[in-house]
């Protein structure tokens, strides 16, 4: 709101994004973010994977994956960029990648796992591009799972543990897109059990 009062100039794609938020969407998007660490200010995003859920089904065509090329971070920390070269996934510099992500998500509801942190680190990136916070509604799988289990203690659950408790088959999720897929399956089940429309 404050931004608007100051009459701040947003990039074009962000305005389009904001316009989209005025309508509610029946589309959900799982969000899996791989970072270098847990400090939103100092650490950076390496890869992002998403897949859409529409009408209680995962839509394979409507998925999103990207590797962010963190030249500065790698340089500062003396990391090589070998694994980036190995991967077949599309690659972008951070700002371009985040723009694509924002365009992909649109007005969908975001499904994450410990989603607050992911949103925070994305926000740090967006801020540098003169954009604001993501406005989407966001659900957290861990919270949903605990609500379904009716457990109130502080026990933490990883995606693998949630998937196992939901009797989903074990899968290696060594990339964010695969984790997004596993999260999608968990969400389909929890959505049904918690009667979310």
């Amino acid at each position: 709101m404050l931004d608007w009062l100051k009459n701040k100039k947003y990039p074009e794609f962000w305005n389009t994004y904001l316009q989209l938020q005025e309508e509610k969407s029946a589309r959900y998007v799982t969000l899996s973010v791989q970072t270098t660490g847990l400090n939103p200010q100092k650490d950076v995003i390496l890869t992002i994977g998403c897949v859409a859920v529409v009408n209680n089904e995962l839509v394979i065509r409507d998925s999103f994956e990207i590797i962010l090329l963190q030249y500065i971070y790698n340089h500062d920390n003396g990391f090589s960029n070998e694994f980036i070269i190995e991967s077949k996934m599309p690659k972008s510099p951070q700002s371009e990648g985040l723009q694509k992500l924002v365009e992909y998500i649109g007005n969908a509801t975001i499904i994450g796992h410990r989603v607050d942190f992911d949103l925070e680190i994305i926000y740090v990136g967006l801020e540098k591009m003169d954009c604001g916070k993501l406005r989407n509604e966001a659900f957290d799988l861990e919270i949903m799972f605990k609500k379904w289990k009716e457990s109130s203690d502080d026990k933490k659950f990883t995606i693998e543990e949630i998937a196992q408790a939901l009797k989903l088959p074990k899968n290696d999720t060594d990339s964010t897109i695969e984790e997004a897929y596993a999260m999608g399956l968990c969400f389909l089940k929890l959505k049904k059990y918690l009667r979310i429309d």
Partner: protein
């Protein structure tokens, strides 16, 4: 290829037909259009009468059941497992789904749009053939699947009525009316009327040369085309359609339809060059169908009282006898008998509820022991228990009262039907075995966590329970309790193992059969306790230790074990065969003497049967070793 999920899916699909026929690019394009669904156990994807979806399905994980309803029975026709396709109807038909697709386990399903796949069918006959075959074998119209057959191994699928007809034998008139060709029509008609038959065979030295039926008399004499003084050879139908002695119901039906006749002549070798043995009329076919299990089940559902049920069960005995004579695999007969027995119990409960008024809370009636395992062919003991929903403490007495009365009546009905209820204490009419859900959970917990302690003797047969009537939820909850307890049940396994090995040995020290030494069954061999039960117990123990759900049948249990433990596969398969052999001996004995078949007289067996019996005990020895190795039996030995 930038969508790595699609690449993953195409990699998965490429292992399975028909997708293995496609190029990597095509498969990737198809995978891109996939939607992924999660289906929980017992949820359906489509039901009979649903509008066709614009896509078909592949099982990514889990297991589905495709079934159709015919004659008010739900018949399983296909069980798509991982990598298999189902729901192909949109490719081949325009009308609504004719089958139910239901998940048997929690499953993940790939949905593939028809439009994305259709182009590849046109260009690839192999794929088209595969889909057509798959569709035919899992669709409802019997004309479509005639000849393709159902998968039947292990008797897992329920037989459809038409299939039973292929081995169902016929009762027919074995002393047909024989006349000479030189007799007049009037004489022949008089003879037919005198002996109340609808046909007469014209013979020459006992070889059939023609037949005259009511129809001939009507169409050729009564119309005035021939006079009644004409010779019978002028109006007879010739040649006669001849069949061999062991013609099945289905064959006879087919021949009559093909040749448009109402009677078939039975000769010793099925040609008209050998002597006449009898005549099959259309009416015989109708009678034969009356003892068909499908028809019997319908009759059971309508039976007004216990005596009517008894009569139906006696008819079914003929069916069992015939099937055994025709060497139908015992596992098939067991499956059918299981259905018939279940229908009997259901009807007995229905009748009782009609009499007592409806139950105060939901309840489930479980068959245990041989009926629970679907191995009850003879009139053996009935075993059962009853579980009702928890009620407030102050109502418990009243509710229990109702169910005890219900159980007593049901058991009395089943006793009239023929199932013995006097010798064994495991009946739902016993207050110990007619309890609320929580009490049962406690009971199972006690059995499984503290086996063998004090008065806590486990009745192992309680673990072969099968829902006969009532709420399926109760069965599922019980399953959960049992399988949760299996997680940490070393002691329980050890107890079961010891019990298994405690059964009386079949042979004496000198390798002679161990026969009863005294009592009413002196010098008889106890095939139930010395041969069948040890195998039953071993199969139960081993399947439970593998946490295999839903298979109660001993034969199927061994088959399943052989798949899971290839190391011991030979032993398990031999044990399955041995079990079938013992059961067959027992059933034959029981049918012959109208008994439970528990004791057999070894001298009456043929020499080869006796040798077979002896060698059938070999896998039991090996099984014992397996059990000794697997479970720590020291607790209870």
């Amino acid at each position: 290829m930038t969508n790595s999920l699609a690449s993953r899916i195409s990699e998965f699909l490429s292992f399975y037909t028909p997708f293995s026929e496609l190029s990597a690019e095509d498969l990737y394009a198809i995978s891109l259009s996939v939607n992924v669904l999660t289906i929980d156990k017992n949820e359906t994807i489509f039901k009979i009468g649903d509008k066709l979806h614009d896509r078909f399905y592949v099982v990514a994980s889990g297991l589905m059941h495709i079934s159709l309803i015919s004659d008010a029975e739900e018949n399983l026709i296909d069980k798509p497992a991982v990598g298999e396709v189902f729901g192909l109807r949109p490719f081949f038909a325009k009308n609504n789904y004719a089958t139910n697709a239901k998940a048997i386990q929690d499953s993940i399903i790939f949905a593939i749009p028809v439009f994305a796949f259709k182009p590849f069918i046109a260009n690839n006959t192999k794929i088209l053939d595969f889909l057509l075959q798959n569709f035919a074998s899992s669709s409802s119209d019997s004309t479509e699947n005639l000849g393709l057959g159902f998968t039947n191994e292990g008797g897992k699928t329920y037989e459809t009525q038409s299939e039973i007809q292929f081995f169902q034998s016929l009762e027919y008139n074995k002393s047909p009316l024989l006349v000479h060709s030189e007799e007049t029509v009037q004489e022949v008609a008089q003879k037919m009327s005198d002996s109340l038959v609808g046909s007469a065979l014209i013979h020459e030295s006992n070889l059939p040369i023609g037949i005259v039926t009511d129809v001939d008399l009507r169409s050729k004499i009564a119309t005035g085309r021939f006079t009644i003084t004409a010779l019978v050879k002028k109006i007879m139908s010739s040649p006669v359609i001849t069949v061999p002695e062991n013609t099945s119901l289905a064959e006879a039906q087919l021949l009559m339809l093909q040749n448009n006749v109402t009677h078939l002549c039975v000769t010793s070798d099925g040609t008209d060059k050998t002597g006449i043995v009898g005549v099959i009329s259309q009416q015989d076919l109708i009678f034969a169908q009356a003892s068909n299990p499908g028809v019997l089940i319908k009759e059971i559902k309508r039976a007004p009282n216990a005596i009517a049920l008894h009569k139906i069960r006696i008819k079914f005995e003929d069916f069992i006898q015939n099937s055994i004579q025709k060497k139908i695999p015992l596992s098939h007969i067991n499956t059918i008998a299981g259905e018939v027995n279940n229908a009997l119990i259901k009807r007995a409960i229905d009748l009782t509820i009609l009499e007592l008024g409806s139950a105060p809370v939901r309840f489930s009636w479980f068959s245990i022991g041989s009926q629970g395992r679907k191995e009850q062919l003879l009139f053996t003991d009935q075993n059962s228990f009853l579980v009702y929903e928890d009620v407030a403490a102050e109502n418990n007495l009243m509710v229990k009262e109702y169910f005890l009365r219900l159980a007593k009546k049901v058991i009395a009905i089943l006793e009239v039907v023929g199932y013995n209820a006097t010798t064994l204490p495991y009946l739902a009419s016993n207050p110990d075995w007619c309890k609320s859900y929580t009490e049962w959970v406690n009971q199972f917990n006690l059995w499984m966590n503290f086996p063998g302690e004090k008065s806590n003797v486990i009745a192992t047969l309680f673990f072969d329970y099968e829902l006969a009537f009532g709420a399926i939820e109760i069965e599922e909850q019980l399953n959960e309790v049992v399988f949760k307890n299996l997680e940490n049940a070393k002691k329980f396994y050890a107890y079961l193992g010891a019990e298994t090995l405690k059964k009386p040995a079949p042979f004496t020290f000198f390798k002679q059969f161990n026969v009863e030494e005294e009592g009413a069954h002196k010098n008889l061999f106890d095939i139930k306790n010395r041969a069948i039960l040890p195998l039953v117990d071993a199969a139960r123990l081993l399947t439970m230790s593998h946490k295999i759900k839903g298979i109660n049948n001993t034969f199927l249990r061994f088959k399943q074990l052989a798949m899971i433990e290839p190391k011991y596969a030979d032993i398990y398969l031999n044990a399955a065969e041995a079990f079938m052999f013992f059961s067959k001996l027992r059933t034959k004995e029981g049918l012959k003497n109208n008994s439970t078949g528990q004791y057999i007289l070894l001298e009456e067996l043929s020499k080869s049967d006796r040798e077979k019996l002896r060698s059938a005990f070999a896998p039991m020895k090996e099984l014992e070793e397996v059990i000794k190795n697997k479970f720590q039996l020291t607790y209870f030995m």
